[in-house]
């Protein structure tokens, strides 16, 4: 929801980034305030996922220009783990499988790391077990997933639920969900979306990175941004997503080009 007096969580200005020497982000501006839900849409290769990873601090990407301020301080000097502890969360498009590490162990480790950062009590395995089972119930997850290795052998939908479970445990102030809808059937999509909606509050914000409009039927964004060639080329309300669904992405680029031509 858009609130007049809410504070700015994320302020991105002129952000440029490269991977392997190739420039992917070519000047991004974005402001996210608490309470808001933003959808970041765009065709494949437009830079959506790169933007998400740069925000989370993926070491494969080099920021070559611009600024990212999170709660008023620069993010760029912070390691990925420091960003996570500060309340930034990235839901992965392809969650990583880690054979040999029990999911329960991983979840508790992540939870306790963030709890310690916030000066709160860590939970021992028994306490955590009760706590995590409650959270899993809300997401319709089978508790058997606690005993299995992290994401190993999980279906696409199970992996995405496990991501949202992590979000529920870590209670981030800014959650960036990268293609959380991909690989989900319609029932799983509804469950995951309900889980996300339940986690949205006045004090946090969510950026949904998605290729399709369908998840936005369940999680209604306050803003929809369209990315093209490493920039945000159009911003609108939730109705923009419907228009994109109906007309595709090409017209946005054409409109931009026409505007640029008129200006010249």
């Amino acid at each position: 929801m858009i609130c007049q007096d809410s504070k700015t969580l994320l302020e991105v200005r002129g952000l440029r980034a490269t991977v392997n020497g190739i420039e992917i982000l070519k000047s991004i501006d974005l402001t996210v305030k608490s309470g808001e839900v933003h959808a970041l849409m765009g065709p494949n290769g437009s830079g959506k996922s790169t933007f998400a990873k740069v925000l989370a601090g993926h070491p494969a990407y080099t920021v070559t220009g611009g600024t990212i301020r999170y709660e008023g301080a620069s993010l760029l000097d912070l390691a990925p783990e420091a960003r996570a502890r500060a309340g930034l969360f990235l839901g992965f498009q392809y969650p990583i499988e880690i054979p040999g590490v029990a999911n329960s162990q991983f979840l508790r480790l992540a939870y306790n790391t963030v709890q310690a950062q916030r000066g709160k009590d860590e939970l021992d395995p028994l306490e955590f077990d009760d706590f995590v089972r409650e959270k899993m119930k809300l997401l319709g997850m089978n508790p058997d997933f606690l005993d299995r290795s992290v994401n190993e052998g999980f279906s696409g939908g199970e992996k995405k639920r496990n991501e949202i479970l992590q979000m529920a445990l870590l209670e981030p102030r800014l959650a960036i969900l990268d293609e959380t809808d991909s690989g989900l059937d319609i029932d799983a999509l509804r469950v995951v979306a309900e889980g996300v909606n339940r986690l949205a509050t006045r004090d946090n914000a969510i950026v949904l990175v998605t290729h399709y409009q369908r998840m936005l039927n369940y999680i209604v964004p306050d803003y929809v941004h369209v990315m093209g060639a490493g920039r945000i080329i159009k911003t609108g309300g939730s109705e923009l997503a419907l228009e994109l669904e109906a007309r595709g992405y090409d017209w946005v680029g054409a409109e931009l080009k026409a505007a640029a031509g008129a200006a010249a």
């Binding site: 990925p80 783990e81 996570a84 990583i96 054979p99 040999g100 590490v101 963030v114 870590l170």
Partner: protein
């Protein structure tokens, strides 16, 4: 044999124990004599031998070891920490010599877990067809040497259809420097029986010594054995071991072999599927650092139809250590419908760590399913980032992933206390090397 080391060993070959002199045990005398003859004819392998191409054992050949002259008398307190709470039956060997005071043999319900020398006369008919018959020593100088020195060992006999519910623990403790020991183990499981065996090699000292072990396991029709092997010898030790397993029809052999210790170690595991429908699952982990060398050579010999084999071998190599894996799968012309898979996965923790891995498939039947693969690499950057994005520090993420890589094998050990202890060891090692 040219090596001073082995010459010194043979020169001091002890007399066979009195029990071997019985006229009914002529076969045993002949076995030893054959082995002595083979030791004389064979030479210590060098890297010019194909089977030893990656493993230079010249440091072993340069040293002089002697058999244990006076057995160490150890108080229980010195070794108790190695005992397994799940294993009421235990045989302890100190520098290769049976230690009755520390052992708890078993002889009930027809099950025999005892010292070979002590049980020899009573069980000779059960022993003769197997002892020295599975671990061939004709072309293997170390198996020959072990057999030449054969005077005692661990004997495990499991009668037909008997399930031994609790694991049997064989604990080999090294206490003397420059000592050579030749541990010997024979397991004969009759039809339909089941047993879990833990062979555990530990050390109470850090100087050089030489362990040269031979284990023979014979499973009759439908028998099942789980074989856990933990090599945690001292850091200067040399450890050479040969294990030969023969599987009758529909029998099943599972093994988890973990190599943590020794300066140079070599484990040869040969599994023969001698009849239809045999199954084996063979998992291995070498976790080494500094200047260690750990070599595993396995041979799974599918000789008859409908055999199944599964193998996962992992190496975690730190420091300037060197791991070797050679996994041979033989599928003989008779072995139609063989289903075999083998995977070798290797993690290098430093730029100086080194691994040689060689899957070797020799397939002479046409209707078979054989899959194999090998990977060598460092920790996956995406996995590290995933954990860091959840708040774990870079070091914590790397430690956890390294631990997990090894833990996947440790978790297959069916003895909880040992699994837990080795898990701790893996945790300590992976934390230290990162």
């Amino acid at each position: 044999m040219t090596s001073a080391c082995v010459e010194s060993l043979l020169g001091s070959r002890p007399q066979a124990p009195a029990a071997f002199a019985s006229p009914t045990l002529g076969w045993l005398g002949r076995l030893r004599a054959d082995a002595v003859e083979r030791v004389g004819a064979l030479t210590v392998p060098t890297t010019r031998d194909e089977e030893w191409r990656f493993t230079d054992i010249s440091p072993l050949a340069k040293m002089a070891f002697h058999p244990v002259r006076t057995a160490s008398r150890l108080p229980a307190a010195a070794v108790e920490r190695f005992y397994l709470e799940e294993a009421p039956t235990r045989l302890v060997f100190v520098d290769g010599v049976y230690a009755p005071g520390l052992s708890r043999p078993a002889r009930d319900g027809g099950v025999v877990v005892a010292s070979l020398a002590g049980a020899l006369s009573a069980h000779a008919p059960a022993i003769e067809p197997h002892l020295g018959r599975h671990a061939e020593f004709d072309g293997n100088v170390f198996a020959a040497l072990n057999t030449a020195f054969l005077q005692d060992g661990a004997l495990i006999l499991v009668p037909r259809d008997k399930t031994v519910a609790e694991p049997v623990h064989l604990l080999f403790v090294a206490t003397q420097k420059a000592a050579a020991s030749h541990p010997r183990c024979l397991v004969v499981a009759q039809a339909g029986s089941e047993i879990t065996l833990v062979e555990d090699f530990v050390s109470l000292q850090d100087e050089a010594y030489f362990t040269n072990a031979v284990t023979e396991i014979a499973l009759a029709e439908g028998a099942r054995a789980t074989h856990v092997r933990v090599q945690r010898d001292g850091g200067q030790a040399f450890h050479i071991a040969n294990c030969a397993v023969t599987l009758a029809g529909s029998s099943r052999y599972r093994s988890v072999a973990v190599a943590l210790g020794a300066s140079i170690s070599r484990y040869n595991l040969n599994v023969l599927q001698a009849a239809e429908g045999a199954e084996c699952t063979i998992d291995g982990l070498a976790l080494i650092a500094e200047g260690q060398l750990a070599d595993t050579h396995s041979l799974i010999d599918h000789a008859k139809p409908h055999g199944v084999s599964r193998q996962l071998h992992k190496c975690v190599v730190g420091g300037a250590a060197h791991a070797v894996f050679n996994g041979k799968i033989m599928v003989r012309p008779d072995a139609q419908r063989t289903d075999s898979s083998q995977s070798s996965r290797n993690l290098l923790l430093t730029g100086k760590a080194h691994v040689d891995t060689k899957p070797q498939l020799e397939i002479f039947a046409d209707d078979v399913k054989c899959a194999h693969g090998a990977t060598v690499g460092q920790l996956d950057g995406e996995e590290v980032f995933y954990l860091r994005s959840r708040g774990l520090s870079d070091a914590a993420a790397r430690n956890l992933l390294t631990y997990a890589f090894g833990a996947e094998i440790i978790e297959r050990i069916p003895v909880a206390s040992l699994r837990h202890r080795l898990g701790q060891t893996v945790l300590e090692r992976t934390t230290a090397t990162s």
